[in-house]
């Protein structure tokens, strides 16, 4: 495995600037997640590293070497795509062995079978090795295509939303497995997703992309607790952070906009402390209530105890806790 670094990388498609001046280092053994909505430049960044797209400017180094002129094969990266593409006429074993049989690698047969067995066990599919690829469930197929990347020992694994076509339960299982596999093997992994849960739970570092730019890079905790802008603050956390004019609340403020995570709003009954908020609707999510409030025309979402009863139009009092402050342009000031 190797360290991968991007220096001032840019790429445009016609008039669209897909990636703009990205500089970042993916350390050896790190699990880096690029997070952003559709069109933020996540996939393009991945494709620039793999060599599937050519750089307009800047450079990509893998293991210290500038790979700008290398073909994808010469870069020695392994990619996993959103849609699993297995060879339907081959068995699971043959699918897993396929990359090792490449004429460049010339892997001996006994090494291949050992490696395939090892990966099958990590992915918990050893009993499926002799099944045809088409006889697998969706989750198993995706595990095989991840496995096909893992049998190799590339410089870096590049994964483009590999779990997004799976159902929720399987996605949750594979999240834990993938994280464990990466930690066990000590692999370097760059993973692209728009799913904040995947980013928070798996990443050692998250890179947040906005319109082709890398706007913040740090640990999940860092990004969650110390976002640099309203944009970044809104990427992590469900329900989403409330962004409100600061003067909605009494007292002096360090910025014009205040950011309040739903869990950071203290509640009291109508006779208690705080400003008045009208209950619009309460949703029972089981472990908690999601409470939709209105404060002088501003919508606020907060959380509450699941066994508390609320009636619509009821008035409660709220007080902000650990607020984040932003200026009018959305940049963090305090």
């Amino acid at each position: 495995m190797a360290e991968v670094s991007l220096n001032n990388v840019s790429k445009a498609f016609g008039a669209t600037q897909a990636v703009e001046d990205i500089t970042m280092t993916i350390e050896d053994g790190a699990f880096v997640v690029l997070l952003g909505p559709t069109g933020a430049g996540k996939t393009t960044t991945l494709r620039l590293i793999s060599g599937l797209e050519k750089l307009d400017s800047g450079s990509v180094h893998i293991g210290g070497r500038d790979v700008g002129q290398y073909t994808p094969a010469q870069r020695d990266v392994a990619m996993v795509f959103q849609q699993y593409s297995l060879y339907p006429h081959l068995t699971v074993r043959e699918n897993l062995a396929f990359p090792l049989r490449s004429p460049i690698l010339k892997t001996p047969e006994d090494v291949i079978s050992k490696k395939v067995q090892e990966i099958a066990e990590i992915l918990q599919i050893p009993h499926k090795l002799d099944n045809k690829a088409t006889a697998l469930s969706g989750g198993e197929m995706q595990r095989v295509s991840i496995g096909r990347a893992l049998v190799r020992d590339p410089q870096i694994y590049l994964m483009d939303e590999p779990l997004s076509s799976l159902d929720a339960k399987l996605r949750a299982d594979l999240r834990v497995q993938l994280k464990r596999i990466q930690a066990d093997l000590g692999s370097t992994l760059l993973y692209v997703t728009h799913d904040q849960i995947e980013a928070m739970t798996m990443a050692t570092h998250i890179g947040v992309l906005e319109e082709g730019k890398l706007v913040q890079y740090g640990t999940p905790k860092d990004i969650y607790e110390n976002p640099k802008s309203v944009y970044v603050a809104s990427r992590l956390g469900l329900p989403r952070i409330n962004i409100l004019p600061a003067d909605l609340f009494p007292g002096s403020h360090k910025g014009t906009q205040i950011g309040l995570r739903p869990e950071n709003i203290l509640q009291a009954d109508a006779s208690g402390d705080g400003i008045e908020a009208k209950v619009l609707r309460s949703e029972h999510l089981g472990d908690q209530i999601r409470l939709h409030l209105d404060v002088r025309g501003h919508a606020i979402t907060t959380l509450s105890d699941p066994h508390q009863d609320y009636t619509a139009k009821e008035t409660i009092k709220i007080t902000p806790q650990s607020p984040l402050y932003f200026d009018a342009s959305g940049m963090r000031v305090a």
């Binding site: 834990v176 464990r180 739970t201 609707r281």
Partner: protein, 364 residues
Amino acid sequence: MAQIVIKNLKKEFGDFTAVRESSFTIEDGEFFMLLGPSGCGKTTTLRMIAGLELPTSGEILLDGEEISQRPPSQRDIAFVFQMFALYPHMNVRKNISYPLVSQGMPRAQVKAKVAEVAQILGIENILDRPVGGLSGGDRQRVALGRAIVREPKAFMMDEPLGALDAEFREHMAEELRALHDRMGATTVYVTHDQLEAMQMGDKIVVMNNAVVEQFGTPQEIYDKPATMFVASFIGSPCMNFVNFNGQLGPNTNELEMLGSRFGVPQTREPFEGDMAFGVRPEHVTLSDAAPFRGEVLATEYLGTTQIVTLKTAGGEVKARIPSNQTAKTGESVGMTFDPKTVTLFDRETGRALKSELNEGVLHG
């Protein structure tokens, strides 16, 4: 608007039973969810209410009138599909007014109705646009508009948000629910997404393998699951099941499991054999002193909270704990369970054992 009563409704396709004798009541003005995995019979149930399928047996009462054999056009029910089918060659206004024009409603009246619906949905500014260039959300709103404009007795919706991406889905779910709150129309909504069902529904029917497993309010179903299927389908992560073999007195609030003693809600029936001790992740607390122990397999950071996966003698257990509490992979930790929230299950049948917690919710 309307109350819908479903009585012993059944549907067979040849040898295959899609829906097995189901009964439940949808009250006037309710937002009612049919929830279950694919193939459980939820869509077939919806289609029978709408008249797109005829039941093999059983009754459907719409405001007291039996309608199960009537054609859809005589039921006064509007259907919104997953793929919003709009007329591509017509503009938004024509798409919405089509159902009224085809009923022969006078022009002036049509115009007034369309204006009213457009205002409810906040799409006045796109009425004269062709539907081709609209965003997903606007297309969805137009499809809804076409259903609302007829003022039917009830709405049937089959995963109307299924095709949207997560962020936008959340937004549309809120919009749809707010729309329902303004109009108060009885709505039956099919989904396989438990969070969507919890979030939007007044009541939920959970189906599995053609059978209604449970019927109740979201909180009731979450706190007092009737079966292991319901307990594992609702909640994310779902309820933990600690597997053990033991016996249970008929009226006790303690049991012995895997060598430790645990508090449980007062039991209402005795049991002996294979059981599952069901406890939600947020009711698991890590405690150094606790005798029941597990090894930390994984931690997942979620902002304010984290999910810790533990390997115990009774299987894997997930705990939702504050993220500032440390748990290291490989470490052995003790855990306690909030006794008031525990549900015990008969592992062979998957049925919840009756207790002080769930009596009154479980039938039969």
